[in-house]
Symmetry: C2
Subunit: 340 residues, 2 copies
């Protein structure tokens, strides 16, 4: 059995219709909408073939057919076409125009935007903090005897923590210490800083306090597990898809979202661009009726993280892929300007 043009068109029509209506597609409907001008009987023959080839599934004998994972895969690989109208593309380009805030804001905004635009559940994998390189260290007096330690990294991520310091240190003294430390640690990753600090002799008590503060913050940032890097937004979106009309299913979905470690795996890019994982391809039982689409974002040439969505396999792939692709590009652009 081989695939021909007509089979392809029928398959595409089935996927399109099923994505839209979520009901098994019958031969009669198809002969009307496919625009092929053949009768339902002919379509039936073709559908029987497609089923035999593994592209279609018949829930029961007197229902129509629904696409299999394999069908979606084919659809994504060869049948996909423009999913967005030009004005929608414009809207996406304008999303980040407003203003570049700090990195966390950008990430949050991004998750929100993804969820709003696609109506699926947004996934964002933030950059790994321990890989970030220190750009600046600052010490800022808060009260007598306490100071705020601020670490600025190369991609603009700012972290801070309050530490105790000698009350003899005023703003200028703290600045000086900050400068000195910046000199030594600039360009190092947090991992390296921690290692360096182990063999570091403090000149004074004051220094010692500051150093241990830095060690602690660096430790914190390094301790950030992969799981902490995952953000989920708009999980409630799935409640609008009839696939999840049973609460138990919705619950299973939500629970799967709690497994951050697995999500990190799911967001691992395969190759340079967009990655689409369909149904079983997700490798997670609970998500076997879902698809995950992810797009990497970078700064300069280096991979930082991914943005993506998770939704029912019955998904508007064209729209979603294009939306994510554009957003990832925007994100990359913004980070390249503001960071480094």
């Amino acid at each position: 059995m081989e695939m021909d043009e007509r089979k392809l068109r029928i398959l595409q029509a089935i996927v399109d219709d099923f994505v839209l209506n979520n009901t098994p597609v019958g031969s009669r409907t198809l002969s009307k909408i496919s625009g092929l001008g053949v009768s339902s009987a002919t379509i039936r023959n073709e559908m029987a073939d497609l089923e035999e080839m593994g592209y279609l599934i018949q829930p029961h004998v007197s229902a129509g057919r629904i696409p299999s994972d394999k069908a979606y895969r084919l659809y994504v690989n060869v049948l996909l076409r423009n999913g967005l109208r030009e004005e929608e593309r414009d809207a996406i380009r304008r999303v980040f125009n407003a203003r570049v805030h700090d990195m966390e804001d950008v990430i949050t905004l991004c998750a929100q935007t993804i969820s709003d635009l696609t109506h699926y559940t947004a996934l964002v994998l933030t950059p790994r903090q321990s890989d970030l390189k220190i750009a600046n260290l600052h010490l800022v007096p808060v009260t007598r005897g306490s100071a705020l330690l601020i670490i600025v990294t190369d991609s603009g991520v700012v972290r801070d923590t309050t530490i105790r310091v000698s009350s003899a240190l005023d703003s200028d003294a703290l600045y000086a210490i900050g400068r000195m430390l910046t000199e030594r640690m600039k360009g190092l990753s947090l991992r390296q800083v921690r290692e360096m600090l182990y063999g570091y002799a403090a000149h004074s008590d004051a220094d010692a306090r500051v150093l241990s503060g830095i060690a602690e913050l660096a430790g914190q940032m390094e301790k950030q597990t992969d799981s902490d890097r995952v953000m989920v937004g708009g999980a409630h979106n799935i409640l609008y898809y009839p696939e999840y009309a049973q609460v138990s299913r919705a619950r299973a979905f939500m629970d799967a979202l709690e497994d951050k470690k697995a999500l990190v795996q799911l967001m691992r890019p395969e190759g340079e661009g967009i990655t689409v994982r369909i149904g079983e391809e997700t490798g997670m039982m609970e998500l076997s009726d879902c698809s995950v689409i992810t797009a990497p974002y970078r700064v300069g040439r280096g991979y930082l993280g991914s943005i993506g969505i998770i939704g029912p396999t019955r998904m508007n792939y064209a729209r979603t892929i294009e939306t994510l692709d554009m957003l990832a590009q925007e994100l990359t652009d913004i980070l390249s300007v503001s960071g480094t």
Copy 2:
């Protein structure tokens, strides 16, 4: 018809049982569990009275009774008793022990903790940024020609943005400008800073750039609407309550959570301590079968924000109230130490 001791005990037993099992409570069950040692017929008479008084509702004639909002109100006002075991209280006290990170982390951790401990949906109202007072302003070189402007506020909130500056300014020059600005603006609220900047003549181009950066950031922080202050966590928890077994209800709930403005109103404290809003008392149609419990947190004597939960009216009030009360106290303690 007046309320007597026995009616109270019966009502309490009904609420307790209904909260536990979510099924209308019948007279026979009640005569067994109430421990009053009277027959079901007697209980029936009492229940008829309680219904007449508005405390009970009969879904249909051959079902048992369920508590009305009025019953929960009475329950909360007079029948509540210790909801937590000592070891649970200990666990709560240890939540924030780990380490004080920056404020945002504390808030996030708090929402997570609330949702974990209570299994309801967590609500957190963060402090209003424009009311925060400036403690320190810092300018930090990022690249030649751009700098990071960092604003530290009195309760430790740090905001930052990248601004363009003259490339002639090195780290020391930026520090000096930062110090100068700190001198002038320390103790002012962001609102005041903005006003001040309007009538402010810049000494140089460099200054002008910096000032407009500050104005912008202050503007951003001020622009933060009340809606931006609301955080919702663990919304998926409600899927575990049979009240929301119909997806349409779950959806209505989730949609209500999107109305941040209304949530801010819901989290407005009434009086000093815990506020409980039951059913219709929430003032939101969509939440008429929910209750909202909130507890304010402060720094020093000033009200900063609230933490709380939202869940079905059929809720374990004792546990929840005590949990929130303790967490708010912990939060207040932590902020008082790290801030100001």
